[in-house]
Symmetry: C2
Subunit: 338 residues, 2 copies
């Protein structure tokens, strides 16, 4: 039995179904263009907790509880959870799941984590290893700024290419049976590094990985760009999206008309002062688990290729003068009934 397709892709012979999805977002996100799609929002960036890291745990926990409420499930009815976040040692995810009894795989894929967790959930369900799996991630603006950049109180200037880490969390329930958008194939990304060293320009660092995965996906699956209503990267931001379009054009691939980016969709560039757009694991997570799955459910969209992108740097690698490797995983999701 082989479900492999080409070099990096695999198909799902029986299609895993995303039966439910949920998301939580912070104040700034709920003032943006996607506000109507969020299940839980809070004006308190601490979400009732004492620290930013605990706030991030809390938004992931709220998201998971909302997901399970929607599905009418308890923790002990979840077979596995795949989750990770940006905090050192992924404490947002492990503290969310501690003592819930849910079997857990911890992931680190930086901002590609929502896609990575969906790819692995597809394998787990498609291979018959579980019949109900949670794919989940989160990020928090304040915990990220402190860990990756400057203390917020320092008031550091952000460069024009910088992106704004989304405070938010998204979770999807991937099942062997049920109604909802279905995952038909996935493409696993490899770590691509073209030598970009500017940690304030992660869109540029991730664009080559996004292009490599999209090209591999189309080749492996023998599909054209227009097979998809939307190819959605998450999250290259305004600059990275433009670079991706240019990389594709050089190869004669016209992405422009079908391409959207979660980092572009989530904030209003004119009024929200986010420079090159949104970023963070939560950015593509809330965009997928709010707007995109909703649009697939309602019939606004028929087929999307969700391409989570991650910049695999650390403050230490940057301080040591190393470039920023990028990765991108792609998940093909079709409307129910198709």
């Amino acid at each position: 039995m082989t479900n492999r397709k080409g070099r990096q892709s695999f198909v799902l012979p029986t299609l895993p179904v995303i039966t439910h999805w949920a998301c939580t977002a912070g104040k700034k996100e709920s003032e943006g263009p996607l506000a109507q799609y969020f299940d839980v929002t809070s004006k308190d960036q601490y979400f009732g907790q004492k620290t930013w890291e605990q706030a991030e745990k809390q938004i992931q926990k709220l998201t998971l509880q909302t997901l399970l409420n929607k599905a009418g499930l308890h923790y002990d009815q979840v077979g596995m959870a795949f989750s990770g976040d940006l905090l050192n040692q992924c404490i947002g995810s492990s503290f969310t799941l501690r003592n819930t009894g849910v079997p857990h795989f911890g992931l680190y894929g930086a901002c590609s984590t929502m896609a990575e967790s969906l790819v692995l959930a597809s394998m787990a369900v498609g291979g018959g290893f579980s019949d109900r799996v949670v794919a989940m991630t989160s990020s928090h603006f304040a915990s990220s700024e402190r860990q990756y950049r400057f203390p917020l109180g320092y008031g550091g200037q952000r460069t024009p290419t910088a992106q704004w880490t989304v405070t938010g969390s998204g979770a999807a329930l991937v099942c062997a049976q049920g109604d909802g958008p279905k995952i038909d194939c996935c493409t696993v990304g490899n770590v691509t590094d073209l030598g970009i060293k500017d940690a304030g320009n992660m869109g540029a660092a991730m664009a080559p990985a996004a292009y490599a995965t999209i090209r591999a996906h189309l080749e492996d699956m023998k599909r054209e760009v227009h097979y998809y209503d939307r190819i959605i990267t998450g999250d290259l931001g305004h600059l990275g999206k433009q670079l991706l379009i240019e990389l594709a054009n050089k190869d004669g691939l016209e992405l422009e008309k079908r391409l959207e980016d979660c980092g572009v969709l989530i904030f209003d560039r004119e009024t929200q002062d986010v420079h090159s757009g949104g970023s963070g694991c939560g950015c593509s997570a809330v965009t997928l688990c709010g707007k995109l799955l909703g649009d697939l459910h309602s019939g606004k969209l028929e087929r999307i290729l969700f391409c989570g992108t991650g910049a695999l740097l650390s403050p230490t690698s940057t301080q040591q003068g190393l470039p920023i490797p990028g990765v991108c995983h792609a998940v093909s999701i079709t409307r129910e009934g198709s």
Copy 2:
């Protein structure tokens, strides 16, 4: 189709084969009881690099290259790699794989990563999503001390319950076909937290997770302790191993005669001054990908349950007064031909 067994386990209908394995270890490890099993060793703790973090990348890279040399493979013949490490943002793993073209899933399971990567590799191969997968991890004493504890030059006193992070890396090649030890089932751990807050006593924090997973495995698979020649935790150390035995005894489960621990096996307690034993992702990785798979290959062992244990803390969670959640994933490995 379902391969699920009980609450946390799954079986592999066609057994993935570990056709090759390789490991690299540092100076202290190669002066210990397992020295004969290491493929690559170096007396230079920088492994020719300028920083400890790059040294850790280098030992993982050496391990992967050794693995592929043994198997006679190039990077482009590897379908997927599952890997992670202890460094913030797992830069040991992503920098090892950058620009190799190997599709990569980044993991964070702390010291359980070798087991976590094997569980996921089993799913990927067992589900037909890939036919040749690398499971890999690493740790480095100096990069861990700096990141988790004190600068080495500070000369901080280590507590009697402390464990010594192993400088080493292990990798296993999991294939759909071939000769070698086989994986017949796995048990996925959940995040268990009994309130231990002492970051200098991680064996105690992980022992409850190890016990929960071993008990779940035996129940799910309807097996007895003596089904296995060895149940091998990695890495509770001397104290954690004793606590695991006590937890099991309370339930009437006699683990003692079959139990070994990678943190106990890797160093000589009398002569190597490691207090409670070894730890770090590399500890169980080099023990498995050196001694244990070798003993399964040679016939010294017929069946083992490899139980990777991880302490899911971060320096931030400890500074914020939070307890240490633990996790343990179990992989049942049988000798070739069985």
